[in-house]
Symmetry: C2
Subunit: 198 residues, 2 copies
């Protein structure tokens, strides 16, 4: 074996990360071997720190260091709109668009009978609890546009609409910059159904 034990161990650890194959792992490990000890220590420290300080926001279940996440504790966010997402990473994606200024609610997954995930496994009760006390007027269902996401959205819409709260869903259609020719039939079909008058 050409590799010493602790190098092999680090290679194995990096290969377990998503999107990192043997070649990328090797590149990173040799980079770390070559870099300052302080640089490597900072990475290790950041990993430990994130696991120690980050937990779920008590209100929206986004990742947070404080009891409430930076979004929930920001008084400038519109308290009357809640955008319901499947995972915390979806919040980061939506925040990058700068088109939404309300609050979020992380379900922690989507209804998927095939994986044995029902509504009880998601944070649905917590969402309904938030609707009870506050002046929420609109729920945006930003579940993923796949079977599980659609099922979850339909289920939630049926629960929330009777409460007299407006329920909306992200639009389906052609990706901006995309080519009509390369759109799949379902997406193109949705784009036609949801056509807008100009």
């Amino acid at each position: 074996m050409a590799q010493s034990l602790s190098i092999q161990k680090l290679l194995d650890e990096f290969e377990r990360l998503p999107g990192i194959g043997p070649k990328s792992a090797q590149r990173i490990v040799y980079w770390l071997l070559n870099t300052d000890k302080a640089d490597a220590a900072r990475l290790a420290q950041a990993i430990v720190e994130v696991k120690e300080t980050v937990h779920f926001c008590a209100q929206c279940f986004n990742y947070s260091e404080a009891e409430l996440c930076p979004l929930c504790s920001n008084p400038e966010r519109d308290q009357s709109m809640i955008c319901v997402v499947s995972e915390p990473r979806d919040i980061a994606a939506i925040e990058k668009t700068y088109t939404f200024n309300g609050l979020y609610h992380v379900l922690g997954g989507a209804i998927s009978p095939i994986d044995g995930i029902g509504a009880d496994d998601l944070r649905v009760k917590e969402l309904l609890g938030r609707l009870a006390d506050t002046g929420v007027t609109e729920i945006i269902l930003a579940c993923n546009p796949n079977v599980e996401g659609e099922t979850t959205a339909t289920y939630l819409a049926r629960l929330i609409k009777p409460l007299g709260i407006k329920v909306t869903r992200l639009a389906s259609g052609l990706p901006v910059g995309g080519d009509l020719e390369f759109a799949d039939e379902i997406t193109l079909g949705r784009a036609i159904e949801s056509r807008r008058e100009l």
Copy 2:
């Protein structure tokens, strides 16, 4: 800001690694947030450990935990051949081919006047020292097939040949599985020059 501080810090640290862009960093960080604390701790620990235990082999300057690397301390390796490489990662690449069973010597770079790197900045003296006392009969120059590598190989050949030691260089030619059509002119030219009789 949607991200808490320690998440942002970890994102920044991952983005500094080679081959990791903002999207990959985000994917890894969310994976780490979602994984067991023990899993994350193991990665952090492996990073710290590698920087603490790994240094250079006293003989060949490969990365090693012990004074001599696993290759130098292996009595079954052919002590009469030394393969000279630029970086420790080149050893891993050659070892994977299972075609070389000798020892290595890591120069720690290549001669590059444009970057101000001369022969004195490489471990050339250490290489000559190894030739003095042992029964080395062949030096394989496995410097990279680029301008700096060729310069380094030429320089070393001129130093070592007068000592009566056989000096060889890795063959240049077409990559196996490659297409003639897609080979660059220099590689194809070398392949013609170095043609073999069948």
